[in-house]
Every structure is written in C-alpha cells, then in structure tokens.
C-alpha cells in the first residue's frame, strides 16, 4: 500500500499538483495492517495528514472496518478480501485485484497496483500517462514490466466497474 501511495503521489506530482504522502507502519509491524495517507491538492497543503477521507482503497477487512464508514466519496475494495457493509455510505467499487493478479500475472503481489490503477481510472485522480511514468520512474527494471501490466489490467477494471449495489 505504501508503494501504491508513492506511485499515486509521484503521478500527481507529474500532473503538477501539490502532494503530501505519509505511511503508518514500522519494521516491527511487517505482515500487520499498514496504511498510507495521501493528499492531492491544487493549493499548498497545510496539515499533511488526512483528517477526512474522500477516497479509500482497501485490501483488508480491518482497513475497511476502520475507515469505510467515515469515507465521503468512494471506497475501492477487493471483494475476495473484504465483505462490505450492507449499508454503505460512500459509493463502493468492487475491484477483483487479487484474483486478476493471480490469474493474469501469476502473482498476488501486483494486486496493489491493479486496485490503484482502477481507482485512478474511475476517479480521474491522475492521468494514465502520469501513472505510467510514475511506475517507470519509481520501480527498478525487475518490477517495471509486471507493474505496467498491472496498470493496464487495473485501468480496464476501473473504467468498466459498476457501483456495488
């Protein structure tokens, strides 16, 4: 999730927006939930931490339970990992990121970029070109091709996804 937030932030910087991104995790918490905050703004950012969530991307039930109800606009979740509330407040978008990653890319590791790309496609937070460049700039050669494929798969899912009823 930290990498996804970094890629989203880098893409927004390429789009000439102001960005602040932070992560809540530590060396002692590998394998436990981790969270990344990102603010994208046309104006300089005063307080760099998220106080009200507009958009939530979650790959874990715990993340969903903690933050979905206070999310104002959209929740992107992986239906394989998260059972959403029966009375969702924000618009909900199911993105089968883990399943797609396993099937199409033979690794679950790319699920984060798939769901990020789906979110970007659906919300127009950043352009596809910028996200592509962000992946090229941020990732080493070993991971670049895989994540660029994940971007394509996610963009496709995000463009076609219907709101969860």
């Amino acid at each position: 999730m930290v990498l996804s937030a970094q890629l989203l932030g880098q893409a927004a910087v390429i789009d000439k927006r102001c960005v602040a991104q932070s992560s809540a995790y530590g060396p002692e918490s590998r394998g436990t939930p981790c969270r990344s905050d990102i603010i994208i703004s046309e104006q300089p950012i005063d307080y760099p931490y998220v106080t009200e969530i507009d958009i939530l991307i979650t790959l874990s039930q715990e993340g969903y339970d903690n933050f979905a109800q206070s999310t104002k606009e959209s929740v992107f979740f992986d239906p394989q990992l998260v059972s959403p509330s029966t009375h969702p407040k924000a618009r909900h978008f199911p993105i089968p990121a883990t399943e797609t990653a396993s099937k199409e890319l033979r690794t679950r590791l790319a699920a984060n970029v798939i769901i990020l790309s789906a979110c970007a496609a659906q919300t127009a937070l950043v352009s596809k070109d910028s996200l592509t460049r962000a992946i090229e700039m941020t990732l080493g050669e070993r991971h670049r091709a895989l994540n660029l494929k994940a971007l394509e798969l996610g963009w496709d899912l995000g463009s076609k996804v219907e709101t969860y009823a």
Partner: protein
Amino acid sequence: MERIKNILPPGEYFFEGNEACAEGALAAGCRFFAGYPISPSSEIMERLARRLPDVGGVFIQMEDEIASIGAVIGAAWAGAKAMTATSGPGLTLMLENIGYAIMTETPCVIVDVQRAGPSTGQATRPYQGDLMQVRWGSSGDYQIIALSPWSVQEMYEMMVEAFNLAEDYRVPVFIMSDAAIAHLRETCTVSEELSISHRVKSHGTPHFGTEDQLGVPPMASFGEGEELLITGSTHDELGYRRTQDPTVQKRLVSRLSEKILRNARDIIQTEGYFLEDAEVALVAYGICARAALEATKRAHQAGLKVGLLRLKTLWPFPEEEIKGLKVQKIFVPEMNLGQMVREAERVAEVEVVSVNRVDGEVITPGEILEAITT
C-alpha cells in the same frame, strides 16, 4: 556567497524528508558524510552512500556516533563541507565531540531526526524532545545555530542554508527534523541555481582570532601550508594552549557566543501568519507548525483572531519576534512536555500557555484549536 548551478536537474521531485535532506546537502556542496545508522534518520545515510561517490565525495559508515562526528570534524579541517545525521540517542553519544567542534570553530552540519525518548524510546515515532539537548548538551558556555524545517521543500532548502551558516560563522549547525518530516513525502521543487558560502581563507593570519575581538576568524585546511594547531583546550588566536590565562579564556568564551549572538538579527528567520490583528498567537516549529497553521485558518473561519509565528530558526532563539507579538495570550504547541514554552515565557510580555502531545503521534489541528478555545 556565490551563485552556482544545481547538481540535480531542476524540476519537481517527490522526495521524502530524508531524501530531500541528502539532496539538499549535496546541492550545498557537502562532500563528506560519516555516520552510524539509526531510525528514523537512516535513509539520509543510505542515499548519501549511493550519491556521494557520484559527485566525488566520501561516505563512511563509522563504528559509532562519536567516531562519526570525529570524522566529520577531521574532514572539515581537511577542507570538506561535512555532515552527519542521527537521532536523539545518537546525538547524545556525539556530544563530547560536538563540544570539541564548537571550541575549535569547526563548520559542520548535524541533522537530528528526532524520535520519542528518553533513551532509545520509540525508534519510529516523531517527537520534539531535543530542543534543549542541542542547545545545552555539551559542557561550558557557547552558542550554536539550529534550524527546523516544516516541509520536505524546506528540508531541501534549509540544508543549503545550514551549510552556508556553518561556513559564515564557523559553528556546528543543527537541523532539527523529526520522524514525521523524515518520512513525509511531498512535492519538492529543485531550482536551477543556488547561493552558497565558501570557507573564508586568509594566508598567514590567525585561525582562532580576528582583529575584531568578537569576529569569525578565517579557516585554513591541513595541507595548505599554514601552521595549524587545533585543540579543545583554551587556546589563543594562533591555537596555542593557554589553559592558565584568565584573559584568554574570557576572550575566547565571549567570542564563541558573541560571534553568533551579535549576528542574531541576520541569522534568525521566522514567518508570521494572520498576526496583524491577532489577539492570540501560536508559536510553533517543525511539523507542529503545520498543524498550527491549519488550526489558525480554522480559527479564522470561526471568527477568532488567531495568528501564527512560525520559527524556522530555533537557536539563537527568536526573542525579539516573540517579545514583539502584540497579542493578549500566546500558545506554544509542542510535541514534548514543554521545552520551547519556557523560552517563550522568558521573553514574552503576556501569558504563555503550553499545548503538548507526547504519545509519539503528530499533534493535530483539532487539538490545538481545542486548547485555544477552551
């Protein structure tokens, strides 16, 4: 000051604070780093380990912290612009040699990425606990310069300022960062050119005294043919040990302080927000000031006359700026139990109230606003 071309191509970068710190140092002309890894500062040395060889510089991971600052002092006397980076517990281990750097007037930059303490405390959590450690940690009377960035952009720019101030005043300059700024990733605009100070040289003149009794002497390097004696003991302007001479001790200790204090007006930088008609002022620095600015804006929306004095320079302390606040009350939000508030109380002419957060989390605008309004 000289205008030079930046070694990093100009543009918009998405750095975390520690990366911006390393890049700012390189831009400023830093060509030597010695350090010992410690969270939350380690990315500074990781980046410099990769980048310094690119620019003809030297990186050394030392055996511990006191050796690190020792190597930095040696590099400075060999002519390099040099730095180290650590966190509060590591800084404690450097203090003996920091005193030596102060006494020998060795220009260097020490980045303190503060974490919650005391002792090893919380390795990854932000805190503002070292304000007094950098000021008073070593023995004797002296002045140092300390700056505190509130953003990634400012971290980058402040590294250049820190190296310039270190050269201008021949003094260790501290950058007071913290775990929050260190790992915050933000837009950082890198300019094409920047201004840097060069070391002042003067062949054949003393290296520890000037005609002006309170001035900053020129500084030679080893290998330039100058006669150099460097000691942490009381010394005259030529560097000779004079530990039994009251006049020499008095002159030296006075100059070490006054070379900074009498230039305080040039050194100190602050920023004011909404202070013109404020009845209440917040005084804050570092990441805390980001929350304070947001709190100030929210207070304005609610019709409250609140302003913010943001300190970029922490030492020498911006006494005149705080004394000059035309308000009825001052609030000092800090991520500690109240360190800067004592300094503010010392100089302010109105009531000063401490607002604290000490659980290793970043203070929020809501907490500050609540303190003002209750």
